[in-house]
């Protein structure tokens, strides 16, 4: 507790202070917030079109939404192009547009685009409300965009809730499906609970720093020693984000929700939502907690080690592919957490390693889900055994899935290896015991991971089709496009485009004061 000798002052004083300060409209850099605005306007447009057109426009809503995402991507590019103006700081440093946030905005927009592609047929062919679904996705992605620029506890909180709340609804989208209900319920309850814990931590942070801005918090925490209250605040904050990124032991909701939720939404949760959690975690840890690296690093070490190990071990026993991907995603989160266990000395490197991983992870995991969605169109099942004989009747799909799985397993030349390579590089650089030991744990885990990825490959390539049905799978255009994009990105990030990728994700600017 903060020292008992401190006296609180009256609320009156605060009010007086407000009265004395005349309101001045803060400067708004419209270009800098253009992506968010475009998305917001687009989302509104989709709603309006939906309301006006009803059934008639149902078929064009997905296309419209995807166009909105692409439109929002344009200002990201223009901002990136004006490197000289970066970083664009607004609201006294609470909202920052820099390379880091632009890369991630791009990532979220493209992920959103792919998710829309994945959802199109799923939603059209199921008996669901689809227009609202796209509006909710737009809202969630908007939250993500905000998250990338948020440098203030309030905006981070708002962003994370903006990401989450639509997702709660979407998880329960198949409203007559008990599993979907349950998925939504669990996700919602756990999410709200985690938010509450997060907020409690945040409130303590605010108390220490007397400011919600991360830079001020960093200054307050950089007193060279650790106080229990700091630790408490940090742990609760991290727990909140740990929930979003499904770190062990806060991951429990993930497999259940993934399995029960509509598969495109699962992809969304596994990729975009998780990435948003990481963005929040990065923002808070890298900017806010460098002064308390002594606490944060071991904490992250424990979480990373537990996450990758537990995720992999449980994944080995899964029979449902979505659940397996869920646990695999948990394990992947463990790898992504790992750089934060050594972030104190080289925050820039750690940031770029995590971002690199996020980019590649997005491509390969979305790709894997795309295959799952496509395969489910024929088999109607999520069991791994239903993938038997896939190679015989859908060789292209099998090869694509193989690429994704190899990428997830970290085998060159597809993307995943480079992502892991970056992680290892950060961990072993400098040769600290903690880093190297975590690297070894990660290496051992990679071998475990190979077990279950191989199990899928085995089914696809080597086993006969369980029902002997060798009719071809028809892949609708939107799914073809999604597959194409993800395959392309997965391949090039691991081979020819490693150079450009590493240039783009060389994002030390988050770590700068």
């Amino acid at each position: 507790m903060i020292g008992a000798n401190l006296l609180g002052s009256s609320f009156g004083g605060v009010l007086a202070q407000i009265e004395q300060t005349p309101f001045v409209r803060p400067h708004i850099d419209w270009h800098a917030v253009a992506p968010e605005l475009v998305l917001l306007a687009g989302g509104a447009l989709v709603t309006v079109v939906d309301v006006i057109g009803l059934e008639k426009v149902r078929r064009i809503i997905p296309s419209l939404t995807s166009l909105v995402f692409l439109a929002a991507f344009v200002p990201v590019l223009t901002l990136w192009n004006q490197q000289g103006d970066l970083p664009r700081v607004m609201w006294d440093g609470a909202y920052v547009v820099d390379n880091y946030s632009l890369v991630l905005k791009g990532l979220f927009l493209l992920s959103g685009y792919v998710i829309v592609l994945l959802s199109t047929n799923y939603m059209l062919e199921g008996d669901y409300y689809d227009s609202e679904y796209y509006q909710l996705i737009s809202a969630s992605v908007l939250g993500m965009l905000v998250m990338t620029s948020a440098r203030d506890l309030v905006s981070i909180f708002v962003a994370i809730e903006l990401v989450s709340i639509p997702a709660y609804l979407m998880a329960a989208w198949r409203k007559r499906d008990l599993k979907s209900n349950e998925a939504g319920l669990k996700y919602m309850l756990m999410g709200v609970f985690a938010s509450a814990l997060l907020l409690y931590g945040m409130s303590l942070l605010y108390g220490m720093a007397a400011s919600t801005k991360l830079t001020d918090i960093a200054a307050a925490l950089s007193i060279g020693e650790s106080k229990p209250i700091f630790t408490l605040a940090i742990v609760f904050t991290v727990v909140g984000f740990g929930f979003k990124v499904s770190a062990v032991p806060f991951h429990t909701w993930a497999p259940d929700t993934y399995e029960g939720a509509p598969t495109p939404l699962t992809a969304f949760l596994a990729v975009a939502s998780k990435a948003a959690g990481f963005v929040a975690l990065l923002n808070v840890v890298i900017i806010g907690f460098p002064g308390q690296a002594d606490v944060v690093e071991p904490l992250m070490w424990v979480l990373a080690a537990a996450t990758m190990t537990v995720g992999n071990l449980i994944a080995i026993r899964q029979t449902n592919i979505v659940r397996m991907l869920a646990y695999s995603g948990v394990a992947q989160a463990g790898y992504m957490l790992a750089p934060l266990a050594v972030f104190g000395d080289r925050p820039g490197q750690a940031t770029s390693a995590v971002v690199t991983y996020l980019v590649i992870y997005a491509a390969m995991n979305l790709g894997a889900f795309a295959v799952v969605i496509i395969a489910a169109r024929k088999t109607g099942s999520g069991e791994i055994s239903s993938y038997g004989g896939l190679f015989n009747y859908a060789p292209g799909l099998t090869v694509a899935m193989t690429l994704f799985l190899f990428s997830l397993a970290g085998i060159p030349p597809v993307g995943g290896w480079y992502a892991k390579f970056e992680i290892f590089r950060v961990l072993t650089d400098g040769g600290s015991g903690a880093g190297v030991s975590l690297a070894i744990i990660a290496a051992v885990n990679s071998v475990f991971a190979a077990f279950y990825y191989l199990a899928i490959l085995k089914q696809m390539w080597f086993m006969p089709a369980p029902d002997g049905d060798h009719s071809r799978i028809s892949i609708p255009p939107s799914l073809q496009a999604a597959l194409g994009v993800t395959v392309f990105v997965t391949i090039v990030t691991g081979s020819v485009l490693i150079g450009p990728l590493s240039d783009i994700t060389k994002l030390a600017d988050l770590a700068l004061p």
């Binding site: 727990v239 032991p249 806060f250």
Partner: protein
């Protein structure tokens, strides 16, 4: 101590005949013949011998030309030495120095180095300097006309480089030909015998299933053997050595449809492989000891000059001895050779009697300084070489008594005679060993081909007791050639074998007045014993085959010309070959020919060869040995004559152990036939050896040695199976599989945490948060 005299003989140059540089053509012809037969014979329907025989004839003629040139060359070098060489023998014209060096200890100097000049050879094939003879001079032994040999003529090219080229300090590995007395001698022998065997085979294997293959492999064998013989480096020798082995493998297993044949082939190859371990290691030791070179001259010179320690040489020589034992059928690695008779008879004649099996002997001769110095042959009474040779010649001879298969008798005889050659080299009688190799090749080829001829007439059976007898009248040509060759083998004067055998016995240095390199009592004893035994068992063979009455069921007839002509040629050789090297004291021949073979073959006065003593021939020894042989032969002849007088058609007058036991049980009744047999045995040397000793030796051979090899074979296989089953598939694999299983099981346990109940999830989340917070508050 021996000292090295750096003598250069540039003043009396003798041109090296150009033909020596193209001797590679001889093996090349045969190799081409092999390829041609393989590729064209079947496709173009050309009978294989139309390719093989012209090729081997060309090779033979070429070999003769080389031999002629060599003879002339030796003469030229000797002449140049006689005319101006003597002065050169004294360094700086100081006679005393040379005298001193000639006198010290054994009164010998080493001779001229053969390495310096031949560096030119390798560099540049046609300069004038290069064609100067490395005319050697050097050692002068009191009271004897100096015997001076030319250096080996080496022509080589770089096979490959190692550690950079020779110029930059690395070692070039050379391949090439080496022409000297020894190689020229064997060149002639191989092509000659091979040619006759080719001709013989056209009749003998006519109509065979694999006539083409047969001739192809004959060609390949000849090429390989010549490649081996002409080797200029030890590495090349290894190559040739193994290539002849594989040809032997293929030809022993020529009729591979039957398992015993392929078994025999495998046995031959594997036994040789065991010896090859020694060959490889020995050559490796010599390579490093001689300063990283495979060059035979360099190794020999290093051995002679003492550049390699005697210990090293001994180890190397012991290793090489293992190789010799396997290839040349010495005890205890000889067992493959009798089995190798499973191959066609002409092959037995060519490969398993005349040529390939002497490769081991040839190897000893090629690296004679290594053995000579390594085993300290000079002035000793026993050494491994002589001992192995001695045991082999007696052991092999004894075994020959109990065979009823004519080829097996000859095979054991070959073993015995190879032992003789090794014994000769072991006691320091180099020329005697080589000469015996030479004569043996001729008469043993004759014997084998004779046996082939006999079998050809008897439905391809080789069983002397069941299917032969009395063939004398049916096939006189075969009979007479066989008898002549047997006489040569038994050492009956004046046939070829007599001369060579006599020189070996002289070389042992035991008989009074013979001198020699040492006093090898035991080997001498073995030698004498073998001389007697050889005569005895050959008499037995002749009797069983040609005398008495025909016991088989075929209609024996004399073979055709293509079979008998080679026999006759060889028989003529068996009569006259011995005269090439006769003691100088012999009237008429002694002065005309004398030690011509020795002069041609044995190097002297050059540093690649040790200075060895020569025994002085002894009439008394010759007479005693001859009487011994004749006596033994007579005894056996008489015994069989009497034996078969009882029942000329008996196919199984057994010489067996069981019969001997019955004799013991029944008592000493001379009148009982079997009694008579055993009595005669016990009463004579032949008898006693033929009794329990030979049986025991054979039993040992078949059961202990073979059994040992079988046991080793099955033992290794069992070990392999064990290791594979338990260690490989059990432990190592198990560990890998186990770790996977462990991971999987722990996953199963962890999965229980995922109960599906949201309140437990929340508890876990909050609990973990609290624990983490507590831990970090306390710990940090």
């Amino acid at each position: 101590m021996t000292t090295f005299l750096p003598l250069l003989a540039t003043e009396s140059p003798v041109a090296v005949p150009g033909i020596f540089e193209i001797v590679w053509i001889v093996p090349a012809i045969m190799a081409a013949s092999f390829v041609a037969i393989l590729l064209f014979s079947k496709r173009l329907s050309i009978p294989a011998h139309w390719i093989g025989i012209p090729a081997i004839m060309a090779s033979f003629l070429f070999a003769l030309a080389i031999a002629g040139n060599w003879i002339a060359y030796v003469g030229d070098v000797a002449d140049s030495h006689d005319s101006g060489g003597e002065a050169l023998a004294f360094v700086d014209g100081d006679p005393e120095l040379a005298a001193a060096s000639a006198d010290d200890e054994h009164g010998k100097s080493i001779g001229v180095s053969c390495l310096t000049d031949d560096a030119n050879h390798a560099d540049d094939g046609h300069s004038d300097e290069e064609s100067l003879a490395p005319a050697a001079l050097g050692f002068v032994e009191e009271g004897e006309a100096p015997h001076v040999s030319p250096c080996p003529v080496v022509t080589q090219v770089t096979w490959f480089e190692n550690g950079g080229s020779a110029a930059s300090g690395g070692s070039d590995i050379q391949v090439g030909t080496m022409v000297d007395g020894q190689s020229v001698m064997l060149l002639v022998v191989v092509t000659f015998i091979s040619m006759l065997v080719h001709i013989f085979s056209t009749d003998y294997v006519a109509g065979d299933r694999r006539y083409t293959h047969y001739f192809a492999f004959l060609s390949l064998f000849t090429a390989s053997m010549l490649f081996f013989v002409l080797s200029s480096s030890t590495l090349q020798m290894i190559v040739g050595w193994e290539l002849v082995g594989v040809c032997s493998f293929a030809l022993i297993g020529h009729w591979w449809e039957d398992k015993p044949n392929s078994d025999a082939a495998l046995k031959a190859f594997l036994t040789n492989r065991v010896g090859d371990i020694g060959l490889l290691i020995g050559m490796i030791i010599l390579y490093f000891a001689a300063g990283r070179t495979f060059d035979i001259r360099a190794i020999n010179e290093a051995a002679v000059t003492g550049a390699i320690s005697q210990n090293t040489l001994m180890v190397a020589a012991l290793c090489l001895l293992a190789a010799v034992m396997s290839k040349s059928g010495q005890f205890i690695l000889h067992t493959w050779l009798p089995d190798a008779m499973a191959g066609p008879t002409p092959v037995s004649a060519l490969i398993h009697a005349a040529t390939m099996v002497v490769a081991g002997v040839y190897l000893i001769g090629r690296l004679y300084p290594v053995f000579y110095v390594g085993f300290d042959i000079e002035g000793s009474t026993i050494n491994p070489l002589a001992l192995v040779g001695g045991i082999t010649c007696v052991g092999g001879g004894m075994l020959a008594f109990v065979q009823r298969d004519i080829k097996k008798v000859l095979a054991y005889s070959t073993v015995s005679q190879l032992g003789y050659m090794v014994l000769a080299l072991g006691v320091g009688a180099y020329t005697a060993g080589m000469f015996h190799l030479f004569t043996h090749a001729i008469f043993k080829a004759c014997l084998f081909l004779g046996a082939g001829s006999v079998s050809h007439a008897c439905h391809h059976s080789f069983d002397m007791k069941a299917d032969m007898g009395g063939l004398k009248q049916y096939m006189p040509k075969t009979f007479w050639t066989f008898v002549i060759a047997s006489g040569a083998l038994a050492g009956i004067p004046p046939l070829a074998g007599f001369w060579s055998k006599d020189e070996i016995l002289v070389g042992a240095g035991v008989w009074p007045g013979t001198g020699g390199n040492g006093t090898y009592y035991l080997p001498f004893l073995f030698g004498m014993l073998t001389a007697a035994m050889t005569a005895a068992y050959m008499t037995r063979v002749i009797w069983l085959t040609f005398f008495g009455r025909y016991r088989g069921h075929a209609h024996p007839h004399e073979s055709g010309n293509r079979i008998t002509v080679p026999l006759i040629i060889l028989a003529v050789g068996a009569v006259f070959a011995g005269f090439l090297n006769v003691p100088k004291v012999l009237p008429v021949l002694g002065s005309r020919i004398g030690l011509w073979f020795e002069e041609m073959v044995e190097p002297a006065g050059i540093a690649t060869f040790p200075v060895i003593d020569h025994g002085k021939p002894s009439f008394s020894l010759a007479i005693v040995a001859t009487l011994l042989a004749l006596g033994a032969a007579t005894l056996v002849y008489v015994y069989y004559k009497r034996l078969y007088a009882k029942d000329a058609m008996a196919t199984d007058y057994t010489d067996s152990f069981v019969a001997k036991n019955r004799f013991i049980r029944a008592g000493h009744t001379l009148l009982v036939e079997k009694y008579y047999l055993d009595h005669l045995y016990t009463g004579t040397i032949a008898g006693s050896t033929k009794g329990w000793m030979a049986q025991a030796a054979y039993w040992f051979n078949q059961n202990v040695l073979d059994g040992f090899i079988d046991r080793v074979g099955s033992g290794t296989t069992a070990t392999g199976r064990f290791i594979y089953k338990y260690i490989d598939q059990g432990a190592i694999d198990g560990a890998v599989n186990g770790s996977g299983l462990g991971a999987s099981q722990s996953g199963e346990i962890l999965r229980k945490v995922q109960s599906g109940r949201v309140r437990q999830y929340a508890s876990l989340m909050f609990g973990a948060a609290t624990v983490l917070a507590a831990v970090f508050i306390i710990a940090v």
